[in-house]
Amino acid sequence: MNIFLSVELLDSALPARIMLLGGFIAVFFSLKSKDTEGHVATFLFSLFYLLVRDIALSVLSFPGLLFVTDLVYVSIASFVILAGFDRRRVLGFPLVFINLAALAVFVLQEWIKVPLGIPVGLLPLVIVVDGIYLSVLGFYHRRLRDSQTRQLLRVIWPMIGFSFILYGLLASFTAYDNVRFFSLVVPLSYWWYLAAGLISFRMQDTQMVQACSYYEESIDSLYNLFVATGSALRGTFAIDDVLKNLNDTLIAETNADGGLIFLVDEFDDQISVKAHSGAFPPPFPLPESLPRKQNRIESYMRHLHFSLDETIFGEIAKSGSDLYIPDARNDARIADNGEEDFLYLSSFMAVPLMVEDRIIGLVAVARTTKDSFFTESEFDRYKLLANFGTLSLSHFFSFLEAKERSGLKQSADTAAEIQKAITPKRIPQFPTLQIGAYTQPALGVSGDYYDVIQTRKDRVIGVVGDVAGKGVAAALVMVMVRSILHLVTNTTRDMGTVLDWINRGMTGKVDIDHYATLAVMAIDLNTGEVEFSSAGHQPLLIYRRASDTLETVDLQSVPIGVERAAEYTRKIIKLAIGDIAVLYTDGIVEALNEQGKQYGRRGLSSMITRHKDLAPKEIVAKIKSDLSSFVGSTRQHDDQTVLVFKMKH
């Protein structure tokens, strides 16, 4: 028996075999780019071995080389396959051992001519044993499908086993001696590579299709989400509606039984439930005192709030990490609150809502049916939707902020407009009385109010007021004061009563900060008689020309708006020609310079005394510039107003 055929036979089919191998190599090369597990590389390695072996056989005419290289080939191929079942390839060792034994026998017997007495024709049966070994392993592991390699091997192990068994049998039977054996069987023993390649292509294709349909579903979900949140925006513009729609969508898209949305409260550093839907059993331990009744638990859940590290929800809001607990019953992080079925929590997911690194809240969903668990892909879907939902929310908040800013600006503008409307455009002057005025707001809209009202041909009323607070509310107070004043000043009643009426008009009627100090002077243009009354305001300053001295007139009283029954007195003063009366607000005498010293009544008084001969308009201008140089660059905190009256001939 001659196992060692002449090389010429091998030669004749060589080009065909090389092209075949080349084709398979090409197939596996194109699979290589998508290969994440490295099994393609091992396939390629074995193919290259075969290529080299076939070329070598056509050049070398070593007897028995085919059989020897076949044994090696079977070993390599087996390793390729076994790698799929067993990372460490330990399973391959018995097989390699058998092959090596056969190889050793063959080499010893045929090449080294050691007489071992083993019929050479039986040696190729080792390949049959290999084939059976691989088949048994393949059958044993046929349920493994957790990696791509294993999925592939699941399908092709019968082909490989069959190939090797048949090949081994034929090799043994024909003793490698048949032309057809070489032209047909030998290349056919490579065909399982083709099957492996094609099946790998098909597997990759399926993967692609699955990914596509996942993305399609995701896009559908996102679309639903945007429609749902958008509809709330078109309606009431209430944050509660937006959150309710978002919550409902998240529940629907994850097939959950209940869902919650928490938002972080900026002021309290707490999170509180802002949307609640469906059945959501508490995942954290319930307080002992809470009765285990369904309606109690439900209202409790609906009004939850925690600080930022209390319970599982607080932790998520603080740390910003997702939480996926598919099997809640068997997870230590989920509390067991009792066996009632409305407390049964089977699966739980929670995701924080983040806008640019800032955690603004969190969303959570729950399943309450036995053995119903959220899958990984549902968790991925949930995260995706939560992120897009947060974006939507943050747009909504930005819009609200912009609206408020424009509202605030509008309100500041409104306040300024109101103020402009009630500030006297022009200070009237009279033959017997000259008047000058100056007002300077500290920040934006002023809290000071002043007015000069001619009530009768011979009567003028001067008013200065300091309203506590800013903005539209303060402006409204001014308007109310002014309205009442204009209404009542025509009365014959005294100025104390006038303040009393203003006070009653304001106190207890309005729900805003309604305090104001006021000082009023009613001047008789003919006689120079002044009726002065004050509600908590700075004392009246009077310069007497005759004695060249300054007097202060101070009436102890409460500001407007403090007490309904407050009493206001009045004082009567007579102004002579050349006398100057000055009303002013806190901001003038309390103005600070860089050293922290106050301008004081002294500063004001000295200005009046120094410029006693000037007209009020000029006096006021002097006060303004003196004050300005006194304070320098120091920022003022209070509005400044001065009203100066001077009796003339």
Partner: protein, 112 residues
Amino acid sequence: MELKIRKNGENYIIDVNGEMDLYNSYKLKELVMKMLEKKVERFIINLENVDYIDSSGIGALIYICSTIKKMNFKLIITNIHGSVKKVIELTKLMGYFPITNSIEEAIQQMDE
């Protein structure tokens, strides 16, 4: 500050509107005393529309709470928020006062 009373079954809900400060907190005290005289036994004080409370207001709540407790009647304070909640936390009275987050929960708690 305005006080309004409404009934829900046997529960009397006092809605407080405005600020509870040193000038008007006595009004709430007086109202509750009057209601006790009229044999009311279940009080829910709703502070939803109260956004300011000072020590007098807290004092009034303490007085009301201890009086009702002594008479073995029931009191629940609800809907505290913002600075009112902060003040109660600062005085560490969150556990001392019977508080719920909503009137709904207060009514449920009353019934048990």
